[in-house]
């Protein structure tokens, strides 16, 4: 494949040369990156906080493209599923949007009585110079709820910078609540967004172990829980990119230690529970954890055997937002018998890519911030049977006659935890084994090939 010169350094093939991969760069102009922007990063991290209003300060697009964008469920209020915008118009851009922002905040706070308000700055707000901080302070003073600016101007970096902005916003809430009565065996769950109800499953595991969960950050999140999150004994961080900075802030400010986990796949899920048990050095918790893992595996492993047999030797490619998730996916796919031949992410770090290079087979393509055409050519070159990715990757796979597993944030199936592992295997199986591929040309069909298809041209 012909690569754009500036992109060559962001691609590595395992096993050939010593590891070298450039990442954490701005996307190349004209390359059709799969990345979004700073605003997107902030919005998706804070999105599941369900009893706050999330007001997007800017023209309508940013709010409307993020309306109900994630399958993040709430056990109570659902303010997060509404798309609030100041819908800035030309005159607001000329004369400033502060007045409109202030009036919009008062209106929405009166209407919905939220526990807090997040105000997201978009590109244009950064340019016209609205003093969002001052407006937030004033409204907070008059309404007696936290009104928190999120500095998420789209052009101020990539999605990662948005994670930082979201963490800084949450930092303003944490430490303001009462922590009495919190168990010494307590944790916050960071970096799970309760897609399809996953955090409920994970919480249940921890509760079965005898560990109290103080705050979900941010799946099924609540403002009051965040406010007392500093009272937890430990932060358990998934999806390293999104909330790691918050964990670091909380360690520096409140002395809450943290470590990374992943809830995808048997190995990582079990490891996450054991790590927490280990941390508390309580034999009872450890015993309950062993019991839990044993029970879950006894039920799961026989069911997985069927899928492993069916999928043995099939080839898979992975392209996800954060590369941390990619680790679990590599292991998970191996567990069901598949070989990973390409793995990439939008925002991985050098360390993460280096480790990916270490655990993957020789010849595996490792790619940072890939674009649509690169993904297409890697899938073709590696002749994969399955692509794991998000919404933007799906039509690429299907046009190439390749099965697809939606590992995106709007999915409606639990993929985390032990039962999620079974769902994952079932979804992969359903796509790879479907009889529809018999009709696609890449898989050997010949009837109606391109030479036979004519596209009607009205001028012919």
């Amino acid at each position: 494949m012909e690569l754009l010169k500036d992109r060559e350094k962001q691609i590595y093939r395992t096993g050939k040369e010593p590891f070298a991969l450039s990442c954490d760069k701005d996307s190349l102009a004209g390359a059709v990156s799969q990345r979004a922007c700073v605003f997107c990063g902030s919005r998706v991290v804070l999105y599941p906080i369900a009893d706050a209003i999330h007001l997007v300060h800017g023209p309508i697009g940013c709010a409307v493209y993020t309306w109900d964008i994630r399958g993040a469920l709430s056990s109570g209020p659902e303010l997060h599923r509404l798309s609030f915008s100041t819908d800035l118009q030309e005159l607001d851009v000329i004369f400033g949007g502060e007045k409109k922002l202030k009036r919009a905040l008062f209106e929405l706070i009166e209407r919905h009585s939220p526990k807090a308000a997040f105000v997201y700055s978009t590109c244009i707000v950064g340019i016209i110079g609205d003093d969002v901080d001052a407006v937030c302070r004033e409204v907070a003073g008059k309404t007696n709820i936290p009104v928190i600016p999120v500095k998420s101007e789209g052009f101020m970096g990539n999605k990662r910078a948005g994670y930082t902005a979201a963490c800084n916003a949450m930092d303003q809430l944490i430490g303001t609540g009462d922590t009495t009565g919190i168990s010494p065996y307590s944790i916050n769950i960071l970096g799970d967004f309760n897609l399809a109800g996953e955090i409920w499953l994970i919480r249940e595991y921890f509760e079965r172990m005898g560990v109290e969960v103080v705050a979900n950050i941010t799946g099924d999140g609540r403002v009051a829980d965040l406010q007392r999150a500093h009272g937890a004994a430990l932060n358990v961080v998934q999806c390293s990119g999104a909330t790691m900075e918050l964990a670091q802030i909380m360690e520096d400010k409140y002395g809450v230690p943290f470590f990374h986990v992943s809830y995808f796949g048997i190995e990582d899920m079990a490891q996450a529970l054991y790590d927490v048990a280990e941390h508390f050095k309580n034999p009872e918790i450890m015993e309950k954890t062993r019991q839990l893992v044993k029970e879950e595996l006894e039920s799961l492993l026989p069911k997985l055997a069927f899928y492993k047999k069916a999928l043995q030797g099939k080839k898979a490619a992975i392209y996800v937002g954060g590369s941390f998730k990619a680790f679990s996916l590599v292991k998970t796919l191996r567990l069901i018998g598949m070989n990973v031949v390409m793995v990439g992410s939008q925002t991985g770090t050098e360390q993460e890519y280096r480790e990916l290079a270490e655990i993957t087979d020789p010849g595996t393509v490792i790619v940072d911030d890939a674009n649509a055409l690169e993904l297409t050519s890697f899938l073709e070159e590696q002749k994969v049977d399955l692509f794991v990715g998000g919404v933007k990757e799906r039509p690429i796979a299907f046009k190439l006659g390749v099965g697809f597993c939606d590992h995106n944030h709007e999915r409606k199936e639990i993929l985390a935890g032990f039962s999620g592992m079974l769902n994952f295997a079932q979804e992969v199986y359903a796509s790879v084994m479907s009889p529809v591929w018999r009709f696609t040309y890449q898989n050997g069909a010949s009837r109606g090939k391109k030479s036979d298809i004519t596209i009607a041209n009205p001028n012919e």
Partner: protein, 454 residues
């Protein structure tokens, strides 16, 4: 008759999208074109995701990927780099460049930058079309129409007057589905007429399975056909709510190509107007096949009329689509009670009056600049039986426990949005059956009897 609509400061669950999205879709309807957004990376990615979830097709929208320093010092260098990279990777015939709120506000002069690019860069270059689409002004429909006008302005008449013969017309359908465009082509071919349909997303946004992945999906209006639009015998332009500088008007004023504006042909009355116009422009009678289709449609209207008579509907979406839908619903006996759009042309009420005055005893409430919070509030009092519009009305339909008839864009909660047929006798037939059966199904599922006859 319209009451004062609620007038809120904030927008909740908007009933509109932003201008660059409309421009990107319009550019996708041109053969060999790549849409390009001059702005930060997020805009292009968000729109791609939004569009993919409806069409289930790849859509590559390039971006200047501007960062902080470009926002301060100007995005010109990145624009040029981006155009160069797109040219190298995609080898497009045309790059459609739409601006965003960021680049409009920092004051990038895209027109001059493109002139500079033309001088600085050697070799074969694609045609560059630029459209100004600040997202704080108008909706995706303004973006769509302005992009089409920019293309016509730049290309039509480029090669002078062409001898096209008598049978060539222009059809400017606005934002309709790939299925609608395919049907328009079939109608034109049946007359027979040669029609340049601009834009044509019938293949680019609803492509066939193919052996090889094409960097740019095949299909779209050929550039040579656009260049010859000045030589057509007439243009038919769907929609009345766009401004005076539409592409049809431009072709009329600049080249004297007669322009007929009409509402999107939805339902029998509007489709009759459309066929009459085709007949007049071609000097040929309406083909038997389509007369027969009309006949079956009338028969179907009669068979099912009593299941839907007097049902109250809320119609929402793009203004021209709302006008077309309202005319259709009115002629089948459904009573539109609220016609709402996020757009603000100032013409919606007048247009709805025009297309329904002879059939509706009472005009519906018509409101522009609406969002779903306001529609939802009004719905409580109006107690509709049906919602008619895109899938973002689903939460309201669920709240009211009434059916939603999914039409237009986006359809994010069902498959096949690209295949919904809205226009012509055939589109009316399909929509009619959907509306009737939704009403019948509602009655059936609400009944404890479990009856198996209507």
């Amino acid at each position: 008759m319209s009451k004062n609509p609620p007038n809120y400061i904030s927008t909740t669950n908007a009933c509109k999208l932003c201008t660059p999205l409309g421009a990107s879709l319009a550019f996708k309807g041109i053969e060999g074109a790549v849409p390009y957004l001059h702005g930060s990376q997020g805009c292009a990615t968000y729109m791609r995701r939004y569009i993919i979830s409806h069409y289930n097709e790849p859509i590559d929208i390039a971006s200047s990927s501007l960062s902080e320093k470009h926002a301060i010092y100007g995005g010109g260098a990145n624009l040029k780099l981006g155009l160069m990279n797109v040219t190298q990777k995609y080898r497009p015939q045309l790059i459609g460049i739409a601006t965003t709120c960021l680049t409009e506000t920092i004051g990038d002069d895209v027109k001059s930058l493109l002139c500079e690019y033309d001088k600085e860069v050697e070799g074969e270059k694609p045609i560059m079309i630029h459209v100004s689409t600040p997202s704080y002004s108008g909706t995706h429909m303004e973006g769509f129409h302005n992009a089409v006008t920019s293309v016509v302005k730049a290309l039509a008449g480029r090669d002078g007057e062409q001898d096209m013969g008598s049978g060539v017309i222009n059809i400017l359908p606005g934002f309709v589905s790939p299925a609608d465009i395919r049907y328009l082509k079939e109608i034109a071919a049946d007359f027979p007429l040669k029609a340049t349909i601009l834009p044509d997303i019938s293949d680019t946004m609803d492509g066939a399975a193919a052996e090889f992945y094409e960097k740019i999906q095949p299909g779209g209006t050929p550039i040579s056909a656009i260049a010859a639009m000045n030589s057509s015998v007439g243009s038919i332009e769907f929609g009345h709510t766009m401004g005076k500088d539409s592409s049809g008007v431009l072709l009329a004023e600049k080249f004297g190509v007669e322009n007929t504006r009409m509402p999107i042909p939805m339902g029998i009355s509007a489709t009759d107007t459309f066929f009459d116009c085709l007949s007049r422009l071609s000097g040929l009678p309406i083909p038997e096949k389509h007369q027969a289709e009309r006949g079956r449609l009338v028969d179907a209207y009669v068979d099912s009329h009593k299941y839907i008579y007097g049902k109250k509907a809320i119609v929402y979406g793009e203004e021209d689509l709302v006008v077309g839908l309202t005319a259709f619903l009115a002629e089948i006996g459904v009573m539109p009670v609220l016609c709402a759009s996020g757009g603000k042309s100032g013409k919606l009420a007048e247009m709805i009056q025009q297309v329904t005055a002879d059939v509706l005893p009472e005009q519906p409430q018509v409101h522009e600049g609406m969002d779903f919070y306001e529609i939802s509030e009004m719905a409580e009092e109006l107690a509709p039986d049906l919602l008619v519009g895109h899938s973002k009305g689903y939460p309201l339909a669920q709240k009211l426990s009434i059916p939603i008839i999914r039409v237009g864009f986006p359809i994010h909660d069902r498959m096949g949005g690209q295949r919904i047929l809205h226009i012509g006798y055939r589109g009316a037939q399909q929509l009619f059956d959907v509306v009737v059966n939704a009403c019948i199904a509602k009655k059936q599922s609400d009944s404890p009897v479990g009856y198996s006859y209507m």
